[in-house]
């Protein structure tokens, strides 16, 4: 290889950033639920897949991508609410491996239900016409859909930031993450807040799945890979840290994308190598709180 064309690298970086946005969304949902409920949601990947299928299903009925994009989070929240209420709430305060195992089992059930409803083969799904083609920056062509994913993720994250940092509901969330007992003593119905947060995390996972559908395909097992990728990102970014998840997610997306271009054989493994290095040097992750490490 002599000289690597700049526009190819730029395209690869952009592809990586779009991929990173999906990682960020999945990891954000995980971190949000973990930060407040102290639960690692192993069904998160299944929710991601369910979101993609829900969106594709809505799209085949309405024919409208935007309508489907609005329908997915609401549909997913309707799945998340009863999950928290009937599956997780009864095991709060017990060993943290109970909710972990419960959601692990739930993941099996959801994936199998998807297979029963939609079959085991993948469903082809393309970006809507308005987002097809490319935008040109100088000589470099950037696929519109990937730019849209980035813009949408940025908007969604800004919305989440506003919700958590600037609203009174966000105040309850932040206080609840620090000391749920005091918050409930002050007269806030924390169980309702937790239920809403779980539904919010589920909705974000579903949206991520639907956004990823035109880029990564729609198959029942799509959540498995992304869940593990999101775990890697939470570990690297720092346990329980939202900014850490964003930084780690975007940089991991770029690294994976560049590796798959220059050394395709290692693209599946590079992420784990980085995680191993982070664990060796800084077990709590880049921006993590040290109590999760040894």
């Amino acid at each position: 290889m002599t000289e690597i064309p700049f526009d190819l690298i730029a395209l690869q970086v952009l592809t990586g950033l779009a991929l990173g946005c999906i990682y960020v969304l999945v990891a954000t949902g995980l971190t949000l639920i973990f930060g407040l409920l102290n639960i690692v949601n192993f069904a998160h990947g299944a929710f991601y897949a369910a979101g993609a299928y829900l969106g594709v299903f809505a799209f085949t009925y309405t024919g409208n991508f935007w309508l489907s994009l609005v329908a997915v989070p609401f549909g997913m929240a309707l799945i998340g609410l009863p999950t928290e209420r009937f599956l997780l709430r009864p095991v709060y305060g017990r060993d943290p491996s109970y909710p972990l195992l419960l959601t692990f089992g739930l993941g099996y059930v959801i994936v199998e239900l998807i297979r029963i409803a939609f079959g085991t083969d993948g469903i082809p799904f393309n970006a809507p016409a308005a987002l097809k083609g490319s935008l040109f920056f100088g000589d470099i062509a950037f696929p519109r859909y990937r730019l849209f994913v980035m813009a949408f993720t940025a908007a969604l994250l800004a919305g989440l930031w506003f919700l958590i940092e600037k609203t009174s509901f966000g105040l309850i969330i932040r206080a609840g993450a620090r000391n749920p007992e005091i918050v409930s003593v002050l007269g806030v119905d924390t169980s309702r807040v937790w239920m809403l947060i779980f539904a919010l995390g589920t909705a974000v996972a579903g949206v991520a799945g639907f956004l990823a559908a035109p880029m990564r395909g729609v198959i029942p097992e799509m959540g498995v890979t992304v869940l593990i990728e999101a775990f890697v990102i939470t570990v690297v970014g720092g346990m329980g840290s939202l900014p850490g998840a964003v930084i780690a997610g975007l940089s991991m997306g770029v690294v994976v994308s560049l590796t798959s271009y220059f050394a395709a054989d290692y693209s599946n493994v590079v992420m784990f190598a980085i995680m191993a290095a982070v664990l060796l040097v800084r077990p709590q992750g880049l921006l993590g709180r040290p109590e999760f490490a040894r």
Binding site: S97, L102, L106, Y108, V109, E112, V235, F272
Partner: protein
């Protein structure tokens, strides 16, 4: 006159389940061996008994980390799978005899356990589960891509061990019953080692770590090393189970490294009873029988498994054997 009758309990006292249980747990390896020796007569066909044997051993190895040390690993497929691949590669690619192949399998799984454990034990609690899952999936990708040796997606074929000759003994492994007792010899040896480990000071300390890690550390124990040791020993047992599975099936499927295999072993241990000696085998038998029965009327086994698993964790966290024990102690 003093009566000596006090020392010898009456027949009814001897039949008391608590006393009986005390005797059984004193001779737990013997009891396991006895039950496993008659198992082929109790199940509809020998293949199911062989699976109970192999997965029971796998679950017992997992139980050392999960039930006794209190670490929820979700990456044990890596230990089972590398054991299977190590043994399979030694037979199918290198042409080594079966006993050397099992050793190769153990080396593979122990090295994987040392690496995965070494990294994952740097994190705590739920993150331990996440990191073990991720690292196991990393191994899955590596073996998936190493097509020239592992066969990649279609699995490793040609792990043929048609017969075993040890001195005058000739075993035909195409006969499932002879194969069963051949595998049982390894399982009983492993259980003897397992029982010895649990009885050792090491066994007491890992249970201490499970109950209160900080207190164990304050007592001067090197908690990191002990957890790592438990993970590595677990790799030895799980790797043996994997190697035996490779010899049993004649192929190594890439699924043996997939995360569902890790999930299966968690379910078996929970179903049987975590932290109990017999639990893993009871759980493996229950899980595999359930799978066998449901396979007759639905292809959606994973749905049933997930629901049973949820019900188990939610309403039945002690598992089958654990509940029996708790009732007897009450």
């Amino acid at each position: 006159m003093k009566s000596t009758a006090v020392a010898t309990p009456s027949m009814w006292e001897r039949m008391d389940p608590r006393r009986l249980m005390g005797g059984v747990s004193q001779h737990r390896v013997l009891a396991s061996a006895a039950v496993l020796a008659v198992l082929p007569l109790l199940v509809p066909y020998p293949a199911l008994a062989i699976n109970v044997l192999i997965y029971g051993l796998f679950a017992a190895g997992f139980n050392l980390v999960f039930g006794y040390t209190g670490l929820l690993s979700l990456g044990h497929a890596a230990l089972f799978g590398t054991g299977a691949y190590g043994c399979g590669i030694a037979i199918a690619v290198l042409g080594l005899p079966w006993y050397a192949a099992i050793l190769v399998g153990l080396v593979f799984s122990t090295v994987s356990a040392a690496l995965i454990g070494g990294l994952a034990i740097r994190t705590r609690g739920v993150y331990f589960g996440m990191v073990t899952l991720a690292l196991a999936q990393c191994l899955y990708f590596l073996f998936y891509q190493w097509v020239s040796v592992t066969g990649g997606e279609s699995g490793l074929r040609g792990v043929m061990v048609p017969s075993i000759d040890i001195g005058p003994i000739h075993l035909d492994l195409f006969d499932p019953v002879q194969k069963y007792y051949f595998l049982l010899a390894f399982v009983v040896l492993a259980l003897m080692a397992f029982s010895r480990i649990l009885d050792s000071p090491f066994g007491a300390v890992i249970e201490g770590i499970r109950e209160n890690e900080n207190r164990a550390r304050a007592s001067g124990y090197n908690v990191w090393f002990l957890k790592w040791m438990s993970f590595v020993l677990s790799g030895l047992f799980c790797g043996l189970a994997g190697a035996l599975n490779a010899i049993h099936l004649g192929v190594v499927s890439i699924d043996s490294l997939f995360y569902t295999t890790s999930g299966t072993v968690v379910m078996m241990v929970l179903l049987g009873g975590m932290g109990t000696f017999f639990g893993p085998f009871v759980g493996a038998a229950a899980f595999l029988s359930l799978e066998d029965i449901t396979a007759n009327w639905t292809s959606h086994w994973q749905l049933i498994a997930g629901l049973v698993f949820i019900a188990c964790v939610r309403f039945f966290p002690r598992g089958i054997w654990g509940s029996i024990l708790a009732r007897l102690r009450a």
